[in-house]
Symmetry: C2
DNA sequence: TTTTTTCCCGACTAATCAGTCGATTACCTG
DNA sequence: CAGGTAATCGACTGATTAGTCGGGAAAAAA
């Protein structure tokens, strides 16, 4: 049955993925190690061959989750040139995570948030993990903005505030996603995001002396499929 | 010692407040009923005279928390006439919750979020609680905007989008607050919020044909004291 | 075949904790 | 003062669960 030598990395990843689903669905506290073992198709003892503690499994699940997200967004951006489309795509991929069909990852991000913030949360001692994620996201967004400026699509004055812009937009995306999850059917996240994008792009493109108004953009790029 | 007849409402509130501090500090799961009892200065058995379950204590703590926030914001707004100042005050009070000196309430809001979203979270069956909170906040913000329009400070075209505007701004406030909490010292929340406010107010005030630019507002109203 | 190595497992342990219950105290009333 | 009642308490119970450990199975080596 079991081969003499097992690819430990691969098996760890397999377990981490099984754990990710459970953590996202039920939360860290409500997910027992036994359940993870069952979901991964191994015994509880085996699980402890590959991870020291439950928290380690959690961290591995987070890493797995981030990897998937980053892959998705980089793949989407890879073949897009137009700065406007790049910006819209970035926002679309980010908000697609809370699509009602698959709210798991969004719930999971709450779980991470909590264990990062709460004093004896599983991640309190490893807060840098989330900081690194956000820094990575911000860099991508900043580069989109600066690229747009260099291509003459956005006005150059915004270069000075690229970082502030990126931080704010990321904050908005997360916040509106959370509110959406909490009060489903109360508003339409696509419309809300499109509204913001219109205003933001209107701002980014307007030049002093130009009449200002929300950008009249098409929202085709606001739909993105996230592969699990 | 104990009087023959006790004001049950008052004692419940007393316990709820003690619980609020603990829940905010350590989270729902990590706070034991025993600890709540000790913090409230009563025995564990007594506590169950006033609440049926641990979850009921949690809900009571949430209600207590919301009441405090609403009192603060209404008190602040009560004596302000100028729409711009009202808007800035609203944002200031909302973000003051994540002041590094007292991040408890922000952590608590994460806790609520989680138990609202996770399937067997303590609040999953009572999701409407959070929805109601947000509706209340949104109404306040909308009224500020409409009032500003009627006073000629904001351009009337925005009336149509008052609701979208309010939902987006509330989402932004929560999102930027969360990011701030997660990566302390990485950015300055006051500057970020001021930046957004400048742009938002610039948008709200600009008229078609006007040269567009961020509003040159003073940020005095961005500091607010939250009383515990 | 026999031995060794690697991997797998689930019963067990020790600790935690939500909720119960019977005993006790303190106040009130007659 | 005495009987009754409201309020308090914390030891106990039952259930859950993170992490351990020793036995066993399969593959490789000898």
């Amino acid at each position: 049955m079991s081969p003499k030598f097992v690819d430990r990395k691969e098996k760890q990843q397999h377990i981490a993925r099984a754990a990710l689903k459970l953590f996202a669905l039920k939360g860290f506290a409500a997910t027992s190690v036994e359940q993870i073992a069952t979901a991964a198709g191994v015994g509880k003892g085996t699980l402890y061959e590959y991870f020291e503690t439950k928290t380690d499994i959690f961290v591995a699940a987070i890493v797995e989750w981030m990897k998937q997200f980053e892959n998705t967004i980089m793949a989407e951006l890879a073949h897009i040139e137009d700065p406007l489309t790049r910006l819209k795509t970035f926002v679309a991929v980010s908000t697609a995570l809370v699509d009602p069909i698959d709210p798991l990852t969004a719930r999971f991000s709450i779980e991470i948030l909590q264990h990062t913030l709460i004093e004896d949360g599983a991640l309190y001692e490893r807060r840098h993990v989330m900081k690194d994620v956000h820094t990575g996201m911000r860099k991508i967004l900043e580069s989109i903005l600066l690229d747009g400026i260099s291509k003459g699509v956005f006005r150059p004055e915004w270069a000075r505030d690229a970082e502030k812009f990126a931080i704010n937009l990321l904050g908005y995306i997360d916040g509106i996603s959370l509110h959406y999850l909490m009060s489903q059917n109360y508003f339409h996240i696509r419309e809300q995001v499109a509204f913001t994008l219109q205003n933001v792009i209107g701002m980014l493109r307007s030049k002093p002396g130009d009449p200002w108004g929300p950008a009249d953009i098409d929202n085709d790029r606001l739909t993105v499929e996230i592969k699990n």
